[in-house]
Structure formats: C-alpha cells, structure tokens
C-alpha cells in the first residue's frame, strides 16, 4: 500500500526533469503539477535543475534573438563566389 502510494506521489528524477521542461512548452495536468511539486519539495537536485533550466532559457532567448549579422565574425570565401558564378551562368 505504502509502496503504491509512493510511486503515485513521487516521480523519478528522470520524469520530474522531463515535466520541468515540458511545463515551459505545454500546460501540465493537475496531477502532473502536484506530482512535480511534491518531487521538488524533497529533491534538491531537481530544484537546482529547474532553476538552471529557466536561467538557460532566458540566456538563450536573449542571445539568439539579439544576434546581428553585422556583429558575427566575417569570413571571406572566394571559392563560394566562384561556385555561385558557375551556378548563375547555368541557370
């Protein structure tokens, strides 16, 4: 009985982290929310994971949205120019 109750109430870390990231994309069910909440209240590593996962979200969002063609390192590629000229001639 106790065993069953535990498996219902406590998620594994693998499932809990999955729900943490799932929550950023779709709404969790009531049951999923409760289970995640209980798991986090007893698991310091998954609490840590959630905090860091959210931080990474913020960082990536800012980093990827603000990147600007003028600011990336410029790489010259003369071979590519020749390839393009060839293809333009054929087209």
């Amino acid at each position: 009985m106790m065993q069953r109750l535990l498996t219902i109430l406590l998620l594994s870390c693998k499932k809990a982290t999955e729900l943490i990231d799932k929550k950023t994309i779709v709404r969790l069910s009531f049951r999923e929310n409760i289970m995640l909440h209980i798991h986090k209240s007893v698991c310091v590593f998954c609490r840590q994971y959630e905090k860091q996962s959210h931080l990474i979200d913020e960082i990536l969002k800012e980093h990827l949205q603000k990147s600007d063609p003028e600011q990336v390192p410029q790489v010259a590629n003369d071979e590519l120019k020749d390839k393009i000229f060839d293809r333009l001639k054929k087209s």
């Binding site: 594994s12 990536l60 990336v72």
Partner: protein, 191 residues
Amino acid sequence: MQDEMNIEKSTETTTFWVQLYSDSLYSWALHKTSNKETAEDLVQETFLIAIKSFDKFKGDSNPKTWLFSILNNKINDHYRKSYRMPVVNNDTILDIFFESSERWRKDQMPQKWTDDTDNLLDNVEFQQELDNCLKKLPPSCFSAIQLKFIEEKKGNVICQELGITDTNFWQILHRAKLQMRKCLELNWFEK
C-alpha cells in the same frame, strides 16, 4: 528582346551583389548553422532565388536587406528539415544523465552555480562558451532550440508548422536542455 535585356540586367546586378555581399551572407549562415557545407548551400540558393525573383525586388529597398531576408527564410527551412531528422540514440542521451533506477547519476547531479548570473551575456567569453555548447548538440536538438527561441512563438504554433506532435517537440527540447546545462556547468560555472 526586352526579355533578353532584362535577363542580362538581372544577371549583371546579381553578379555585382555576389561580389559585394556573399561574404557577409556566408558569415551569417555559418554562424547560424555551424556547418560550412550547409552555409555554402544556403548562400548559393539565396542567389539563385534572387536572380529568379529579381522582378520582385524593388529598387528602392536595400539589396542587402532583401538578400538577408531570403537567406533567413532558407535558414529557417533548414532548421525545420534538420529537426525532422530522426534523433539517433534518443534514449542514450537520457542514459547519460540517469541511472536505470531513473535517479540522477552521481557525476551528473546538478551542482549549485554561482549566484552571479546577471549580465552574463555582456561577457564575450561566456557568449563563446554558449555558442560552443550549442554547436555540440545533435542537429535535431540544435534546431529545436533555434526554432523555440529565434521567433518568439508558442510551442503549439511551432509544432503545427513542423507538422509534429507537441510531445515530440518538448521531448527533444528537454534533451537539448539537459545537454546545454551540463555543458555550461562543465565549461563555465565549475571553472
């Protein structure tokens, strides 16, 4: 006769644009895809589209802006395509982090990071580590992240566009996040 003149003019102008802009288009594509061949292909396709739809280009807009908008569409198409590539070792990724009992492996348990996480992005070295970690992701994970964050779209909208289920998308994104977290911890926060 008129048509021939037009074709000549579009070829001439496009050739001129290749000289002027192909390096910056290529640099951008390389930055966004982290792959030399992919970047070259995307830039070539950009110019082929430009010459075909030359009539649509309005002389009063900036050709560089126009070419970049074609290229950015191509880059997004590329993410969609590579996202659809089957994830090799889908479960192997999770096995790196969790034991068969589904608990964190000892060497993978998230460690406490320094609290000093404000203004991280002003730090050039951090940006480099972030890019390095992104580049190390498997293609489908890399593309899932790009699709999620580039255009501020809701998860379900992205899924509709990709013609995939939500489940698939957040599962791939989850694998991407596990790997990004670990990579940043090893290369930045624990250093």
